[in-house]
C-alpha cells in the first residue's frame, strides 16, 4: 500500500440535498505533497473533513494509510485523529495557554511523559523557527507566527499525513510564501501533505501537484 490517501468514487451529500462531492476518486502517494484548489463550495473542505472523520461519505470508500475509514468506529476516532496533523485557517490555538502548551497538546492527549514532551515540543518549535517564543501567549504573536505555532502543533507527533485547510487564508502574500516554504521543508523530511488553498498563483509558482475540484467533481489531478 503506497498511497497514503485513496478516494474511491466518493459521494458526499449533506442533509438538505447539497451535493458537496460527486463521485471523486483520487490518490495521494506516501511522501507526496499536493495542493487542493477550487472555488468556495467546490468541495475542498468536505474532502478534508472526510479524511479527518469530521464527516462520513454518503457513498464510496475513503482509505487512509491503508485503513478503510468505514471500519473506524466512533470510539476509535480520537486514536485515528492522533495520527493526523491538522492545520486550520483560523489557527485554532488555545489562547489561555502558552505557545509551548499549545504545541504540547497532542502529546499530552497521547499521554507522553514530561521529558519526552519537552524535547519534542522544542524540536517542533525549532522547525518552525519559534523556539524563543515558547513562553509567550498566542495573542502576543502575529498571524504568521500563530499559524507557525499551529503547524508546530500539527507536526509535533510526527503524523503520517499533514492536512492544511486554507492555512494562508488570513495571511498576506509574503507570509503565505513563508508558510508554504515551511510546508515544502516538512515534505522534504518525508511527511505527506495535502493543502487546500485559494492561492492559485502561489501554488503555480511552487510547482507541486495540483488537485482541482469544481462543484464536487475532480477537474484536474
Amino acid at each position: 500500500m503506497t498511497d497514503i490517501v485513496a478516494f474511491n468514487h466518493v459521494v458526499k451529500r449533506y442533509p438538505g440535498g447539497k451535493m458537496a462531492l460527486d463521485g471523486v476518486s483520487l490518490r495521494l502517494a506516501r511522501g507526496e505533497m499536493a495542493f487542493l484548489t477550487g472555488h468556495s463550495g467546490a468541495g475542498k473542505s468536505t474532502l478534508m473533513k472526510l479524511i479527518g472523520l469530521i464527516e462520513r461519505p454518503t457513498r464510496g470508500q475513503v482509505v487512509i494509510n491503508g485503513t478503510d475509514l468505514a471500519t473506524v468506529r466512533r470510539r476509535q476516532i480520537p486514536r485515528y485523529r492522533q495520527r493526523l496533523g491538522l492545520i486550520f485557517q483560523s489557527y485554532n490555538l488555545l489562547f489561555d495557554r502558552t505557545v509551548f502548551d499549545n504545541v504540547a497538546l497532542p502529546l499530552v492527549i497521547r499521554g507522553l511523559g514530561h521529558a519526552d514532551i519537552a524535547r519534542r515540543v522544542r524540536a517542533a518549535l525549532d522547525t518552525v523557527g519559534l523556539l524563543s517564543h515558547e513562553r509567550k501567549f498566542p495573542v502576543t504573536l502575529s498571524g504568521g507566527e500563530q499559524q507557525r505555532v499551529g503547524i508546530a502543533r500539527a507536526v509535533v507527533d510526527r503524523p503520517y499525513l499533514l492536512l492544511a485547510d486554507e492555512p494562508t487564508g488570513n495571511l498576506d502574500p509574503a507570509l503565505s510564501a513563508d508558510i508554504m516554504r515551511l510546508f515544502t521543508r516538512l515534505n522534504e523530511t518525508g511527511t505527506s501533505i495535502m493543502i487546500a488553498t485559494h492561492a492559485i498563483d502561489l501554488v503555480q509558482r511552487m510547482g507541486h501537484r495540483r488537485i482541482a475540484l469544481d462543484h464536487g467533481h475532480l477537474e484536474a489531478g
Partner: protein
C-alpha cells in the same frame, strides 16, 4: 515509518532510565490525573469571582442541613442527660407499714434494672413538701397527712424508654403498690419533637444535596459552553471524551470540596457566635451544657459528601454536553 522512528526513540534513553518500565505507565496515568486536578484549580482561579460565588452558594447549601444535624445531636445529648434523671414514683397503699415499705425499697434496689430505690415515708414526704411548697400553714390546717408513702425508683440509666415503661408496668403489679407513675410524659413529647426535627434534617439534607448537584451541574454546563471552541480543537487533535471530561470532573470535585470547607467555616462561625449566649442561658438553669460542634469524623463526612456531590453534579452534566460538541 513513524512507528519505526518512535521505536528508536524508545531505545535511546540510558540503561538506568529504562529500568522502571512497569512504573512508567502508572506514573503517566497518575501524572495525568494530578495535572488535571491542578489545571481544574487553575481554571477556577482564572474566573475567581464567579467561582467564589458558586463555592459560597454550595457552602451555605451544605451548612444548613449540617447545622441542623449538629443541633439535633446537641438536643439528643441534652435529652439523654435528662433521661438519666427520670424517676418512677410508686405510691404505696395506706395500710403498708414503714417496715414493709423499706423492705420493698431494698428488694427493688437489688434488681439489675434499677439504679436506686428509696423509701420516703408519708411524714418525710409531708416535711419535704412543706419546705418546698411554702404551703406550711395550709398543711397544718389539715386533720391528717394526705400524702401516701412513696418508693422513688431510679431506673438504670442505660435502659431504653420502652424498657423503662415495661419496668414501671411490672412495678405497678407489686403488692402494696397503689399507683406507679413515670414523670416522663413531657420527655416523651420532647423525644417526639426531636425525632421530628431529625427527620426534617434528613429531608432538608436530601433536598439541599440535590440542590448542590444542580448548582455544580449548571456551573459545569456554563463552563463547557464557554469552552466549546477549546473542546472542538481538542477533539480535532484526537482527544478522547474521557480526556476532555477529566478536568471538568475535577472542577466538580474542587467545587464540592471548597463548598464543604466554606460550610465548615460558616458552622464554626455560627457556633462561636452561639456559644457565649448559650453558656449564659444554661448557667441560669444551673446546668453546664457545652455546645458540641462537628467532630473529626463529622467534618470528614461533610468534606466527602461535598466531593461526592460535586462529582455527581458534574458527571450528570458533562457526558451529555460533551457528546453535543463535535467539530464541524
Amino acid at each position: 515509518m513513524a512507528e519505526q522512528h518512535r521505536g528508536r526513540d524508545g531505545r535511546r534513553p540510558s540503561q538506568r532510565q529504562r529500568i522502571p518500565t512497569l512504573a512508567a505507565p502508572a506514573q503517566g496515568w497518575l501524572g495525568a490525573h494530578a495535572r488535571c486536578l491542578i489545571e481544574a484549580l487553575g481554571r477556577m482561579h482564572r474566573r475567581w469571582v464567579a467561582s467564589l460565588l458558586t463555592v459560597f452558594v454550595i457552602g451555605i447549601t451544605l451548612a444548613l442541613p449540617t447545622g441542623l444535624y449538629v443541633l439535633v445531636k446537641n438536643l439528643d445529648t441534652l435529652s439523654t442527660s435528662w433521661q438519666g434523671t427520670v424517676q418512677a414514683s410508686l405510691y404505696l397503699d395506706d395500710d403498708v407499714s414503714v417496715e414493709r415499705g423499706r423492705t420493698l425499697a431494698r428488694r427493688l434496689d437489688a434488681r439489675d434494672t434499677i439504679d436506686g430505690a428509696e423509701y420516703v415515708s408519708a411524714e418525710e414526704g409531708l416535711e419535704t413538701f412543706r419546705e418546698a411548697s411554702g404551703f406550711g400553714d395550709a398543711l397544718d390546717a389539715l386533720p391528717s397527712n394526705p400524702l401516701p408513702a412513696v418508693v422513688v425508683v431510679t431506673p438504670d440509666a442505660d435502659m431504653t424508654r420502652a424498657a423503662v415503661g415495661e419496668l414501671v408496668d411490672t412495678l405497678r403489679g407489686e403488692t402494696g403498690v397503689a399507683r406507679a407513675e413515670l414523670d416522663q410524659a413531657w420527655l416523651e413529647r420532647l423525644f417526639a419533637i426531636l425525632s421530628l426535627i431529625e427527620r426534617a434534617a434528613w429531608v432538608i439534607g436530601l433536598l439541599l444535596s440535590a440542590a448542590v448537584v444542580f448548582i455544580v451541574g449548571n456551573t459545569i454546563r456554563l463552563d463547557i459552553e464557554n469552552r466549546r471552541e477549546e473542546i472542538e480543537v481538542m477533539k480535532l487533535l484526537g482527544a478522547s471524551d474521557a480526556f476532555i471530561r477529566r478536568p471538568f470532573l475535577y472542577s466538580g470535585v474542587w467545587y464540592g470540596l471548597s463548598g464543604a470547607v466554606v460550610a465548615l467555616i460558616l458552622l464554626g462561625g455560627c457556633f462561636a457566635a452561639l456559644a457565649g449566649p448559650l453558656g449564659t442561658l444554661t448557667r441560669s438553669y444551673d446546668s453546664a451544657l457545652d455546645l458540641v460542634g462537628l467532630d473529626w469524623s463529622g467534618g470528614f463526612a461533610l468534606l466527602a459528601t461535598g466531593i461526592a456531590l460535586g462529582w455527581c453534579g458534574c458527571a450528570l452534566t458533562v457526558n451529555r454536553r460533551l457528546a453535543d460538541i463535535e467539530p464541524r
